[in-house]
Symmetry: C2
Subunit: 335 residues, 2 copies
């Protein structure tokens, strides 16, 4: 596995040569209506991106490159943003975890195991009652009520992507829609986005045949879209990106590098194996140029105020809400 020089795509050349997903206009219209409604209600809005992106190797997709991500960080964080009163645009990889239902993964906690058929009603004409077992009620009730509340308050809007191309087009369009609320918008870019892609022009139409030899795939670099996001798409938004590394020695230098290169507000750095217990906020000190590091850590056995195992996203979101409020208060036109 190695790297070779290649023609570099800028964001501009990317969008000029790669096709928009067919559902883009429909998705954008939905976001526009949602943002308009939140603006009337005076709510802050966060875009949460979540899950991995795919890079299809064929036009009729059988094989693809993917990025490891179940979507836990994004789905969990969305719940805490809702709890903090934000409206949430939840833009996630198809089939990745979602807020609330994440607690009942089909593998680890299948919901069919929660249900009992009520024996009393079996003589009636209508189907018997099916209810949640008494021992499972308390936990489910909390999740269910938070879910129903977010729905009733129209506080969440969900968008789906699969490929890195879907993601890039959607991110640009949603950023432009969110920019109408200026500093009230927060971007929480937790999706695991591929650094590489295969331009449409290089894809084979049908399934690559295995034949007799090895497979060689050569991919181009995905354009760095944080730069146009900060400079053009959403100049006043509070932008939080994530940096995941597996080599702890690279985490801080890579996170600082990203902040310097793109000029956004915060890079949240996390190590693949420690990401549930510690993250580092890398950001500029106030208006100055000095970059500071701020670690958030929880112990493996930490318990929250409700008596449940603590999730680090609770602290991440609490810290971000504080910083976002300061960002809103510092609005130049408000002075």
């Amino acid at each position: 596995m190695n790297e070779a020089p290649s023609s570099q795509f800028s964001a501009e050349s990317y969008f000029a040569t790669q096709p928009a997903p067919p559902t883009l206009e429909h998705d954008v219209a939905g976001v526009r209506a949602f943002v308009a409604r939140q603006r009337e209600l005076g709510r802050k809005v966060v875009l949460v991106t979540s899950g991995g992106t795919t890079v299809p190797l064929e036009l009729n997709v059988v094989r693809y490159l993917d990025n490891f991500s179940a979507g836990t960080r994004g789905a969990t964080s969305a719940e805490y943003f809702l709890q903090a009163g934000y409206a949430v645009v939840f833009m996630h990889r198809q089939f990745s975890l979602q807020p609330f239902s994440r607690h009942y993964s089909h593998s680890t906690n299948p919901f069919l195991d929660l249900l009992d058929v009520d024996p009393q009603s079996s003589d009636s004409q209508s189907p018997p009652n099916i209810s949640v077992m008494p021992s499972k009620r308390a936990e489910l009730l909390e999740v269910l009520q938070a879910y129903k509340s977010a729905r009733a308050l129209e506080q969440i809007h969900t968008l789906t992507f699969v490929t890195v191309n879907d993601y890039l087009w959607l991110l640009r369009a949603v950023s432009q829609e969110l920019s109408v609320i200026g500093r009230q918008s927060l971007y929480y870019l937790a999706a695991a986005v591929s650094d590489f892609f295969l331009p449409r022009q290089k894809m084979s139409e049908h399934k690559i045949q295995s034949g007799k030899g090895s497979l060689i795939i050569e991919m181009d670099q995905v354009p760095k879209i944080l730069k146009p996001m900060v400079d053009e798409w959403s100049r006043e938004g509070f932008i939080v990106s994530f940096k995941l590394e597996t080599d702890p020695a690279l985490l801080i230098p890579k996170a600082r590098g990203a902040l310097e290169r793109y000029g956004h507000q915060i890079v949240v750095g996390n190590d693949l194996h420690r990401r549930k217990y510690e993250v580092v906020f890398v950001s500029r000190e106030h208006a100055g140029q000095d970059i500071s590091e701020h670690w958030l850590r929880i112990g493996p056995g930490a318990i929250n105020a409700l008596g449940h195992p603590k999730e680090i996203e609770e602290d991440i979101i609490a810290e971000l809400v504080k910083r976002h409020d300061a960002w809103i208060a510092a609005e130049p036109s408000a002075n």
Copy 2:
């Protein structure tokens, strides 16, 4: 994207050089106990493999190659095998669809939308009752009862894989365990298995850095394991493999080629875009050498005996049960 000659792995050299997954022994012990129990009960046993396999590009996995598959074929088929009285070893990709819960995908039919909090019990000390909305009961009841029945009868055993390496080691071990019931075993190999892999010896330890250039990946071919499966691991099993193509012109030639090469019982051919409406059984005529094709088709609006939309897996499994029974009856030692 292109192919180059490479050192070809045989099944033997593969298992001699690639490490076994750490959970293999534990998984095998579970299968052994399950098969022994089914043998006592005189049940036929089917191994259903389902979902795609990954090819990690790094030891600390961030990126991987994957095969498109939600696991619909396998999860759906497992339900019909259970209904036909088979015991099922359901060996599936982590997070792919599973029998029964597949009807309630978190994306298309989230189970939280089925539930209501019962208002009457809110004054009690214990948490209020949570029950399934009356309008959703009939449909859920059918699924729930089939699920509970399969569990109560200990008719299903679930195994999980992620990488193509997990899959290959597990398939070999499970085949060897199932071989103790001879012709009573059926193999329904519906998983979408990668044709290529990256040998452990060629993987980079950490996340590949994106740097300045393009990414070039060179992968080796996965050994053809149907051959040792037929010749060594499970000589008497009834083996059904799947061939998915996107180019309809390749479907029959590829399916016939696989049958000739490996000498197993049936190749089920399916086209990516038509796979829910038609499949072709490619098999040998009785003991002869002539290969025949048998198409199964359902209309897009087909309804089954219970008044639900018909799934083609119902017909696939009915046809396979017939053929498997003939295979059992034809046992040489029984004559």
